[in-house]
């Protein structure tokens, strides 16, 4: 059942609220504009869809238009952060950190300056735009860079909190957001601590530990609910992929003896890879990986693509059964 300390909305298994994570970012950014005059926003010709338009209109002097030039986006922001500003750079994840990976590596991560890289339309949620625009490797690209923090909020509320936290953190941060409206699970009371995973669901004597990140966390909870009387599981929200809350991951794996990861990303190098690295070293258990398996995306509605790439509630339930059978 849902843990009480996570303060999850009570309508998540019904038709609850749906909001895009990028909207949580946009709301937080506007608030940051009021609170901190050092916050500046740089955008690569995508102000509306990256949800920085409101900031641009309210704080035009702190909005810097870069045009369609993501390498410049990253390196100009590096210079501004080096000076003392807190730049948020907004584009699609497929381009930033997709196209400008080296500029991020050298001028932001190695330089260790506090640029906040906001990757929109991450995962397959950008749907009809197709494979070119569906970033499925951004977590992998960013989490191998020393100094870089990687955050993947599960809903708009968490995206709001994570954005505020990113501004306070004195180093580089990558955050990914989805385009589509997805279920809001967390509330204003839900805890959000940098690098601290949240246990949202805990069955009695859990047999499988599920670790999920991003909006697909909702499908993981649906799967847990569906299996309530078949296999008891725990579901942990991994909003911070780096630094990973290894203590929570190991504890949940020890408690259950098997693990499933869920992410809207390549399983190689993403959350699945991160969890597997920790468990292989600390407490090896059988694992199954829900996510994209070495394939590109394609056009379609998000709901269709989630099913095609086997990331729906039934797919997660199957992975849970499969890993349970391997114990």
């Amino acid at each position: 059942m849902l843990t009480t300390h996570a303060h999850i909305r009570d309508d998540i298994f019904a038709a609850g609220e749906r909001m895009a994570t990028r909207d949580g970012f946009g709301r937080a950014l506007l608030e940051l504009g009021e609170k901190n005059k050092n916050v500046v926003v740089l955008c690569a010709d995508l102000a509306e869809s990256t949800r920085v338009l409101a900031f641009k209109e309210k704080f035009p002097d702190r909005y810097i238009e870069i045009g369609v030039a993501e390498q410049n986006l990253a390196a100009v922001a590096s210079g501004m952060a080096n000076y003392g500003k807190i730049p948020f750079i907004a584009s699609y994840a497929a381009f930033s950190p997709g196209r400008n990976n080296e500029q991020i590596r050298t001028t932001i991560s190695l330089n260790n300056v506090p640029v906040k890289i906001m990757g929109m339309h991450a995962g397959i949620s950008v749907g009809p735009d197709g494979a070119t625009h569906q970033a499925l490797e951004d977590i992998a690209l960013m989490r191998v860079q020393p100094n870089m923090v990687v955050i993947s909020p599960c809903d708009a509320e968490e995206a709001y909190k994570a954005t505020l936290a990113a501004a306070k953190y004195e180093g580089p941060v990558y955050m990914r957001f989805g385009r589509e409206k997805t279920p809001t699970m967390t509330t204003t009371e839900s805890p959000f601590s940098w690098g601290k995973a949240n246990l949202l669901w805990l069955g009695e004597n859990p047999q499988v530990a599920v670790f999920a990140t991003g909006p697909l966390l909702h499908n993981a909870l649906l799967a847990a609910k569906q299996l309530e009387h078949e296999i008891a599981v725990s579901v942990t929200n991994i909003h911070t992929i780096k630094p990973l809350d290894t203590q929570a991951v190991v504890a949940a794996a020890k408690n259950a003896g098997a693990a499933v990861t869920v992410e809207e990303h390549q399983v190689a190098g993403g959350l699945g890879g991160a969890v597997a690295e920790v468990l292989a070293a600390e407490f090896p258990v059988p694992m199954e990986f829900v996510g994209v398996h070495d394939q590109f995306g394609q056009s379609g509605e998000m709901s269709e693509l989630v099913l095609h790439y086997k990331m729906g509630p039934a797919d997660i339930a199957d992975a849970i059964r499969k890993v349970h059978g391997r114990k």
Binding site: V40, I64, Q71, G79, N82, K85, N112
Partner: protein
């Protein structure tokens, strides 16, 4: 104003910097020779005349910022900084060694006064532009300089930055291209022709000046002129001779990435290169500047 005596001093410092470059590259056993030698006069002019800076307080808030985009020529910067008093000249011999602050390509976090980390070409101008933009937002009056190579102009990121700086009229920034006409694979105009470089930057709304990069007075004058241009960033195309000061290295692109002892041997045998080059530099005594009198 640059007095004649000061000009002479800078020329002598430039020769000391060249000697240090040869010594440090020889000790390191790897690194770039031609570029650093060619930029010795310009670095001496920056660290001993142009920059407002304090070697004993490298983080002084009002200092001018010098971004080095083509990080591979950093030995000339290390040598100039050492001679200016940032750290002991002897430390130059730790270049590229384990545990040294003097990394093969510069890192901001390793050495105070190194404004950024660079090496991968093409992104220094963007960083300098971002820095200058932020400084202007806060009404700061220091200047931001960015030194680039000519081969680096092949990179698309440079032109993204050039467009950004021109569009935003970053008049508090001056860029300088080391136009020495060589890159690793050969002459720039054979690899990927850059000309007309002046017209390209002018088309991007830059004020462009061209100088002899070994003429200290001309470099100073160009930098001063840039300060008077209020509506545009300024680019100084500094025509330099790669390997300047050592005739066996001058104009030879094969010396781009070779240190003394490992360079082309058709003129000087490998085991004699360091000694011959140092001897040549020690007998120059500032004659480089006299060529322009």
């Amino acid at each position: 104003m640059l007095s004649e005596q000061k000009e002479k001093e800078i020329a002598l410092v430039a020769n000391k910097i060249r000697e240090t470059i040869i010594e440090m590259l020889t000790a390191a056993g790897s690194g770039h020779t031609a570029g650093p030698l060619g930029m010795a006069d310009i670095f001496a002019t920056f660290y001993f005349h142009i920059l407002h800076h304090d070697p004993h307080n490298p983080v002084w808030a009002e200092r001018d910022r010098l971004f080095l985009s083509n990080g591979h020529i950093v030995p000339v910067r290390y040598a100039a900084m050492a001679h200016a008093g940032y750290f002991p000249v002897e430390e130059c011999l730790t270049l590229r060694k384990f545990g040294s602050r003097l990394q093969g390509h510069p890192e901001r976090l390793r050495l105070l006064g190194m404004e950024t980390t660079s090496g991968p070409l093409g992104s220094g101008l963007s960083q300098a532009a971002g820095y200058a933009y932020a400084a202007r937002m806060d009404g700061k009056t220091f200047r931001t300089y960015c030194l680039m190579s000519d081969g680096e102009q092949d990179a698309g990121n440079v032109w993204e930055a050039a467009m950004f700086a021109g569009n935003n009229k970053l008049a508090n920034m001056t860029a300088l291209i080391d136009r020495n006409n060589i890159q690793i694979n050969g002459m720039t105009e054979d690899i990927m022709p850059l000309e007309n470089l002046r017209a390209k930057y002018e088309a991007f709304n830059w004020h462009v000046l061209e100088v002899d990069g070994h003429n200290i007075r001309a470099v100073v004058d160009a930098v001063e002129e840039a300060k008077a241009i209020v509506e545009k960033p300024t680019l100084i195309i500094a025509h330099t001779i790669p390997g300047k000061g050592i005739k066996e290295i001058e104009f030879d692109y094969r010396w781009h990435g070779s240190p003394p002892g490992k360079g082309p041997t058709d003129k000087v045998p490998a085991d004699k290169q360091a000694a011959v080059f140092l001897q040549e530099l020690r007998t120059l005594k500032g004659t480089i500047v006299s060529e322009h009198e």
